[in-house]
Symmetry: C4
Subunit: 287 residues, 4 copies
């Protein structure tokens, strides 16, 4: 349990800022979220367009400017987050704090390091920031239900995956021995790669068996892959079917965030964080 | 509720025409529907054949004539629909009214605009007209059940799709960084396109990873895609399994259409539209 | 109901032959079935090997002889079937009678028609003869259960298939318009073929979109295809889950065949055919 | 029931060794298992790397040394297993005894037979040794549940597979007849191979139909394959859904092994093997 001094609630403009930036219960908070989603998506589109050679040649400088604009915008937002939160350092070290930093850092680092091409592509992690906002929506009930079904069947899925991996290693080695380097199976790892491509029914066709024996084994692999896809489906379906009876209750207050430990899911009438005991800001509905 | 004057029921030949063209309860109505389906399918076959270069060279003029014949036929039908319906303008602005117009317009516009090749292909939308007739069949119960299962699970499917899209964007960018332009991953959008092709187990093979690291990541993507296909299947299966207990009742009168507001699903003994209060034409079974 | 004279039961050696050839309740009958399955599979292997150019060159004459041997064997069997059955003509016109004839006819016709290559491949239909024997096994319970599940959901599957076909026609036309003949989409039928290849997640890669717009639409098609595969799976799963509660009863006497109308599924203690009223031969267990 | 003399329990250092090598209930036993898993995986990585041409050229001798080190290590382990077990011959003839031998034999044989390249790849079977250790973990409950679901539906899956195989043979022959050798369908077996590639939605694209008729039939095959994947999924799902109600009980003592007959699953308080009556070594938890 933290000491009392760390739990002094925020007040004044910092508190108002906190409610707007970190929560989604007020009109201003929702508007801020929408603006943020729009900025993230637009910045991603600009990053994606910049990677296309022909567009980079014609619109390079304009996209560069746009990129700096978004970076400065996100920098301001990052600073505001640090200011209005009670414990800036704890925020900076949290998962979303790291993601926020990673979305702005690459461009600044690029000023010092010349060949920052791969660095720049880290900006695509901005996408992860959207999950913070999605966490505040009423679709969380469904997401939690799916997550619960996945978690409940994670051990069965693990057993299934280990079996698949062992199968793929043995089949890949067999194909390497049967087909040999002349037919594209240049090594055991390539054979395993081919076995994964085939068993999962992806079938790129960049490497294909040429000998009758290889084609026979491939046929077996394909029919096996076609059959065992039923297993994960069966596992997850059985789990979801069991859960769909109980309907998830939508909790509007799921958008409240503890300013001390950044946990969510606090009840509407909660006054203290159930995880760290810190005081929660009141849910100010009117704005 | 509409005023009385707009609800004056059709009478005489216009009413008879209405029952034949818009409904499927009478023998004449069913014959009309069958003839219409046949015309639509034949006209589509002619459109498809015309697109094949070798056939266009040998049979071009004949197909042109056939095309005009169908267009004139559908024009007559469109005019008849406008005549026999109580509110022609409302019909013209309804979804199926638009589709009907779009199936005949391209050829007339092609007389004025020379390069109407792409315009002409809009004719394939004639296919949508078949749904109007399919709506009148007794397979509607099954269609509704599937639709209900899809609607009931639409939020879970949305959550799943958003996760897949985020995954695909991050994986596509990663592959672009790893493989680079030399191996076909020429830009981030192309990387995302590849990630979709791979995650959905389609696997065209037009772009494939060449580096060991890229093949390793691709293997991960494939196994993930193989595993998470279980999720939508589980969602829909659980929903259908819940619904299959209640058997859908077949309602023959589902083919009755209100001439005033174009709604369907009126009971066999209904005399007035349950949506707009307009008088429904009697279901004249004998013809 | 047939007249009495047609229902005179077979007797003497013809009856014994009937029990051996048409039924599987006696030891001789089971041995005959095993020998027949072996002959069918061997003859199919010889047909398949004959189609391989390199094998045909080295072993052509030997395979030719083998082929004639099997054909003569099946001819003798066909004649014996005609002899021991009560109504030879009715048998000859039944489904399996036709299949039996089609398995031996091609080679004889080949004597008169020189270019009988395609004719010869009709021999592969011999495979269908195996189903007659499989019908006599105790796996029929499972087959019936699967068939029942398929039949019970056939209307939902039909609705699903019609939707898929309409989707595929519209998407194929769209891709033809977007990509054009330069990128391999040479006609609307080819576009539809591509849409089927993509929507079913097969993904040959012989035709792939090249333009950004085409790749965008293709991405949509793939995600759609990935999602809607859940629908048939959900339909069939729900149906099978409903049926698995009741265990199918194994009926050993399912192998009894009426010599008059060739129907099966007669009870062990039945003396007359439940379909045509004809006398059934007694199930002679000892041999 | 075995005679008393064969059931004399091991004692002294051999018994201690037995508990460490064959069981996982003690700390030493668990450490031994972890070390073994690490050795197996490392030796497999070295086998896989050795198959890559570029790595073999630069690191060939080092990998050779590593390979011999692992082989000697596994040889020592094999000898220790023979020493500490009560009936060495029975162990040597058991499944895992054979796998253990096969993991070390190839390299020794390679000393006498020069071209041992394919022999060497048998070493990949070392992977199977991992299953012995996996058998000792608490994931066995899940594995058994999946196995039970598969076994319970094995007859339905067999019926399904036979139908798929018959379908594939007939479709492959048809495609061979339609497309012919000019379009890559060089023989009936190749046609069948193509049909499997297509029906299972793998779609390599190494062989694709070129004629309109062939593409039409291929479309049918693909839609069929897309539809019938629902069948195995439905079968397995229904079976798993039925089983998931009962939760498997985790039995820690599943890791105890009878030194006489090599059976597992003995209760924690069992003093004698429930299969052969032999004395079980006490589960020595402290070490």
């Amino acid at each position: 349990m933290p000491t009392q001094e760390t739990l002094i609630p925020l007040s004044g403009w910092r508190r108002k800022l906190f409610v707007v930036i970190f929560e989604a219960d007020t009109r201003a908070g929702r508007l801020f979220d929408l603006a943020l989603i729009a900025s993230i998506l637009l910045s991603l589109v600009s990053v994606a367009l910049e990677s296309v050679a022909s567009i980079r040649q014609s619109w390079g400088p304009q996209l560069k400017v746009l990129d700096w604009m978004f970076t400065i915008l996100f920098t301001i937002e990052y600073v505001l987050r640090l200011i209005c939160i009670h414990k800036p350092l704890r925020y900076a070290r949290s998962f979303f704090g790291m993601v926020d930093l990673l979305s702005i850092l690459p461009l600044y680092l690029g000023l010092f390091i010349p060949e920052s091409r791969f660095l720049a592509d880290i900006r695509v992690l901005r996408l992860l920031r959207m999950f913070r906002i999605l966490k505040l929506t009423r679709y969380m009930g469904e997401a939690h239900e799916l997550k619960r079904a996945m978690l409940a069947s994670r051990r069965k899925i693990l057993v299934f995956l280990v079996t698949v991996i062992v199968l793929v290693i043995i089949l890949g080695t067999l194909m390497y021995v049967i087909e040999g380097e002349a037919n594209g199976f240049t090594s055991i790892p390539i054979g395993i790669y081919w076995a994964i491509v085939t068993l999962t029914t992806v079938g790129f066709g960049d490497i294909t068996p040429k000998t009758p024996l290889g084609q026979g084994l491939a046929s077996l692999v394909m029919i096996t892959g076609y059959g065992i896809i039923a297993v994960p489906t069966g596992i997850v379906t059985a789990e979801i079917a069991r859960n769909t009876r109980a309907t998830p209750t939508e909790d509007q207050s799921a958008t409240r965030l503890c300013p001390h430990c950044f946990t969510e899911g606090h009840d509407r009438d909660a006054r203290f964080c159930k995880h760290c005991g810190g005081t929660l800001p009141a849910p100010s509905r009117s704005n």
